[in-house]
Symmetry: C2
Subunit: 381 residues, 2 copies
Amino acid sequence: MKVLILGGDGYLGWPTAMYFSHRNDTVMVVDNFIKRKWESQTGVHPLVPIITLHQRIQLWRSITNKSIEIAIGDLLDHNFIYKVLEDFGPDTIVHYGEQPSAPYSMATRESAVFTQTNNVIGTLNLLFGIRKFCPDAHLVKLGTMGEYGTPNIDIEEGWLDIEHKGRTDRMLYPKKPGSFYHLSKVHDSNNIEFCCRSWGLRATDLNQGIVYGIDTAQTILHPELNTSFHYDSIFGTVLNRFLVQAAVGAPLTVYGNGEQIRSFLNLRDTLSCVALATDNPAKFGEFRVFNQFTQQFSIQELANLVVATAKRAGITVDIHKIDNPRVEQEKHYFNATQTQLLSLGLKPTILDNSILDNMFKTVYKFKCNVRQNLNKPNIKW
Amino acid sequence: MKVLILGGDGYLGWPTAMYFSHRNDTVMVVDNFIKRKWESQTGVHPLVPIITLHQRIQLWRSITNKSIEIAIGDLLDHNFIYKVLEDFGPDTIVHYGEQPSAPYSMATRESAVFTQTNNVIGTLNLLFGIRKFCPDAHLVKLGTMGEYGTPNIDIEEGWLDIEHKGRTDRMLYPKKPGSFYHLSKVHDSNNIEFCCRSWGLRATDLNQGIVYGIDTAQTILHPELNTSFHYDSIFGTVLNRFLVQAAVGAPLTVYGNGEQIRSFLNLRDTLSCVALATDNPAKFGEFRVFNQFTQQFSIQELANLVVATAKRAGITVDIHKIDNPRVEQEKHYFNATQTQLLSLGLKPTILDNSILDNMFKTVYKFKCNVRQNLNKPNIKW
């Protein structure tokens, strides 16, 4: 299978590339390295030093004797992505190639406009390219559980059977996203659904929970095959951030009362889910949505888990509740459905002490790199 | 009241400006005249010659002794709209300033990308400007009934009370738009709802039916106060188009079987509805949605009305059913709610023989300007 991975230099993209390459798929990664610019702009850096994508690809080949192709360019340049689609002819396109941070999108007008332009227009160019050059390809698009917000009814997988005044229809699940970033993903979903319905394209929208984790079965083959791990308040996800705070003995900063419930999954499960979607493609004309997570926790529960993890390592840390920099409900109903990936065979990785201890060990090893001020939220909305 | 009208040179914007000026509101119009570029690009022209916006404003003053202020610029230039908002300090912003054509948005990748960028980012700039310079202003945003598509349940006004597995929530009504243009309006609505919820802005989203009509109480004050009336397949709406076909004795071109049902309103009622929304603003933090139409017809019914209108004028015309250039359901349920504008006092203009005869008379008078090839749909999706 020919698998094209957009955003192949990222936290998820690079492990995904190795995962598919490992199982002998033909893999091409695309990136424009703009994450490096955002890192410089916002003054953040990954916890663990990372060699360049080219170097990682060379290292991967030297270790496994497997090639990963690479194309450098921007989805906003439609001629670039058209040529990639025409030349490579992918069976599956795994699309991580978007600005991934809610706080970044909320920082300024410029960053909001950039996020929506980059994500929505980049994906539009991709859709036109698929239609023109590889209409049979299956688009596996990464969305987020955050698109749903925190509705007072169960969150279904993208579609909802609605009964109203004695009539029924199956409709897109109504969403209430919490940032311009999350909105960009909602816009994407609406555009993609239209292209499936009108042009007969096929797509799976993966509404993913918050990913945690450092290692995969491929990153552990060599220390320099690691993926970028952010612990800052802009690009770092919450569990990763808590572990870094604990490693340096800093209090864990919980936004608001910590009763917000979110859905989570291990980085390794991201790869399994993307592979399950790839191996079981949507039908032509189908806009399919999977909710992609394995567990639900409140932020307070996660903080408690990390306090206990640090304690097992002999470190005592506190939890500090700080003013919530985000506009979000802190006390709310939350129950999300996730059955389709399980029925395709997903075996969830459960967040247990062994996983937490292992993550903590790695984070602790690199604690000399931590700049503590990066943990503090500096963008409010 | 200070009323800022974005897109003040357009079919709806110009009559709206005169309407508010007539009732002694302080009116400023904004336009970038890009419609003139689209007309040249696509080779279309309004049926009735139209003098420039500056000339119309001068004429309006000479007739009524009332001023309309004007600012020329683009919503994509945030500094421009920021300065307008800061200097003018509007109480109400009536936002027509978007690319308004579904076929135009479906013509090419470029036009799709342009439509979504122009509409979504222009509105984002506006939202940031309102937050910064006039957070008390009421945004009256023009959307379209086409955002809803043709669901199998009744179309409610923007929000839907959903009961699911024994729990309930009031959620945004799920939409199934039929073009990149309609999608851009859905994206707008989602962005605006977020800004109301997160920033406390207030907005009314007017999901408008298909507008027909030529005259308003102000355009009839002088022949050169007319608004632009398009009859082409790109910018012309269906009833206007049929009347022009009938005037030149050409067959009325119905797309597909003609059983598609759509909602309609008279140009004069657009002005009444916008005024009702303006005079009864949304609350701070509220994202309010009105469905703005007065009648529902099938396309076939409209064609029949126009055949009869032509017959009364002694002209016999046929109806030609042509291959539907659009991807849309031709046989479908359609029942849209419209109660909020009625309860605010809207007195609907009903499409009767007198209105049809009057429109036909005007159209007939200018039939020498008609280029018939412009009636044929030349954009398919």
